[in-house]
């Protein structure tokens, strides 16, 4: 029995139907479904220990603080970071990247400096840099994407220059599923004197991350894509880089002492966590990590690799279907984008929805990549631990029916 069938029962939402059909949830790249262990952790916290953290001198406050900080230790271990001070809880990946832009980058970069991005970035790892570039007169440059959906590494030498202060890129493309060679790029960027930020939103659910080994300066991820609740994410920053920085936002928790005319800052990581944090969500993230680690990365990765191979093979058999991204399953994770000729991706998604199949459609918040691919948008199926081979078969069959029903129509160009 494959992993998907074995663990499906752990995810209560997968029992529901959509329009009388079994739910085939193939939108885990947008947000993953939550295992019962996470839902139980939230309920336990709210029913037994709910209190504010860090300043409550009572039993519940102590428990809540202990649970919240234990979640941080879980994240540290999960990412292979050296120090717990390097793990800052945020609302999600977007906030984590913006936090780096507002703290380290705003302070370190000056007019004429360059930030090297890639053509496959999610808007969350592009717009914060665009805003900062406009404010500080920085130059944004982009590593091109090849026709196969890989980064064109031959362009890196030309693009990575004396003025490059930051290289910011996705670990895994949210559209193509491409796993980028981040270790090589970290090495090359740091050798050129640049810092490296990695957007790990789509990588953390699919592959083990070893930050101590990787040596990246910043790493951002979202809890909800791992099966945790929404509203919790992580910014990892190397301690030496975070230590001298001032907070991005004022408030409680980030301070040590406040006078009427001056303030001293709190220690790491709390200096970057103003106000009451997402306590239950962080505890839920800890539970989600426990769940994934119990399944084990070997089992998760071989399961998802098998699903990806099956999906590429089955979708390739569908008439008029175009697949995007690397054809070699070893270069990608379980995120597969495609189009059916002449059918708008939203119509495709709506047609599949009538069969209970949930896929995402559109530009996937990566418009420059869509332009690079020469499309307005794509449909995207994305997998998780609970995805089964039957889900893939249902998708292929649904696509065939959509092709017959919506077929080719007249067009004017």
């Amino acid at each position: 029995v494959n992993l998907g069938e074995r663990v499906r029962g752990d995810f209560p939402i997968l029992q529901r139907t959509v329009g009388g059909r079994r739910l085939v949830y193939l939108d885990s790249g947008a947000t993953a479904q939550k295992p019962r262990a996470v839902l139980d952790a939230l309920r336990d916290f709210y029913e037994r220990s709910n209190a504010n953290v860090h300043r409550s001198i009572h039993t519940l406050g102590e428990e809540a603080t202990e649970m919240y900080e234990a979640a941080r230790d879980r994240v540290r271990g999960f990412l292979g970071a050296r120090h717990r001070e390097e793990i800052v809880f945020t609302k999600g990946t977007t906030e984590a990247i913006n936090l780096v832009a507002h703290t380290w980058a705003r302070r370190a970069l000056v007019e004429g400096d360059e930030i090297l991005l890639t053509e496959m970035e999610h808007h969350s790892n592009l717009v914060p840099w665009y805003l900062l570039a406009r404010e500080k007169k920085l130059r944004l440059r982009y590593i091109p994407v090849t026709d196969e959906g890989l980064l064109d590494l031959t362009a890196v030498d030309r693009l990575l220059g004396r003025r490059t202060r930051l290289v910011a890129l996705a670990h895994v493309s949210n559209v193509l599923g491409t796993v980028n060679p981040v270790a090589e790029l970290v090495e090359r960027a740091q050798a050129a004197g640049a810092r490296v930020l990695i957007d790990g939103a789509q990588a953390a659910p699919h592959l083990p991350v070893d930050l101590a080994g990787l040596g990246a300066d910043f790493y951002a991820l979202s809890g909800h894509k791992l099966g945790a609740p929404t509203g919790i994410g992580v910014l990892y920053g190397r301690r030496e880089i975070l230590e001298p920085l001032e907070p991005a936002f004022g408030g409680s928790e980030i301070i040590k002492e406040v006078w009427l005319d001056r303030v001293t800052w709190n220690d790491l990581p709390w200096r970057f966590e103003p106000g009451t944090p997402p306590i239950a969500q962080a505890i839920g993230l800890g539970a989600a990590i426990d769940y994934l680690e119990d399944l084990g990365w070997d089992a998760i990765q071989s399961h998802e690799a098998a699903l990806t191979r099956l999906a590429l093979a089955r979708l390739d058999e569908v008439e008029d279907l175009t697949l995007y991204g690397p054809r070699d399953p070893a270069l990608r994770v379980g995120v597969v984008a495609f189009n059916l000729a002449g059918i708008h991706p939203h119509d495709l998604a709506a047609a599949l929805d009538t069969e209970g199949i949930a896929v995402r459609a559109g530009h996937h918040c990566a418009q420059p990549l869509a332009r690079r691919l020469g499309v307005a948008g794509t449909a995207r199926a994305s997998f998780s631990v609970y995805t089964t081979p039957q889900d893939i078969e249902a998708l292929a069959a649904g696509l065939r029916r959509a092709h017959d029903a919506l077929g080719l129509r007249p067009s004017v160009h």
């Binding site: 939203h346 559109g362 307005a376 029916r401 029903a405 919506l406 077929g407 129509r409 160009h413």
Partner: protein
């Protein structure tokens, strides 16, 4: 898939009556739906008495948007600009004869906004 969008939308989508372009349009406008990036272009030919002689549209858009554009073109061709501007979202929703989810309402109104913007640039506006 009949349940998908209803017969009117599927018919207009597969057999559009007003898809195309005009040789010498008097008014043209094109815009995108910011939610999905869909693009619709509407071209209008005006007769001397401020009547809409012909309307054509094209675009990279979903079936709902294209069907809405097709129905809209049919509704306003041969009418005065003033009458055309009276067509609103509800008129189109009634004509589409399908249940449109809130997330797709913008697909219905994109062609309407584009037509109105095209007509706003014409001298016959008032």
């Amino acid at each position: 898939v009949g349940a998908l969008y209803g017969d009117v939308i599927l018919d207009r989508y597969k057999h559009p009556r007003y898809l195309g372009e005009l040789d010498v349009p008097d008014a043209v406008h094109e815009d995108v739906n910011p939610l999905c990036g869909d693009r619709i272009r509407v071209e209008v030919r005006l007769d001397p008495r401020a009547e809409i002689g012909a309307v054509r549209y094209r675009g990279d858009a979903c079936a709902i948007s294209l069907a809405s554009a097709d129905l809209l073109a049919e509704m306003v061709e041969g009418r005065s600009v003033r009458e055309a501007l009276r067509v609103d979202r509800d008129t189109l929703l009634r004509a589409l004869r399908a249940e449109i989810r809130p997330s797709r309402l913008r697909c219905v109104t994109l062609p309407l906004d584009v037509l109105r913007a095209a007509l706003a640039g014409t001298p016959a506006r008032t």
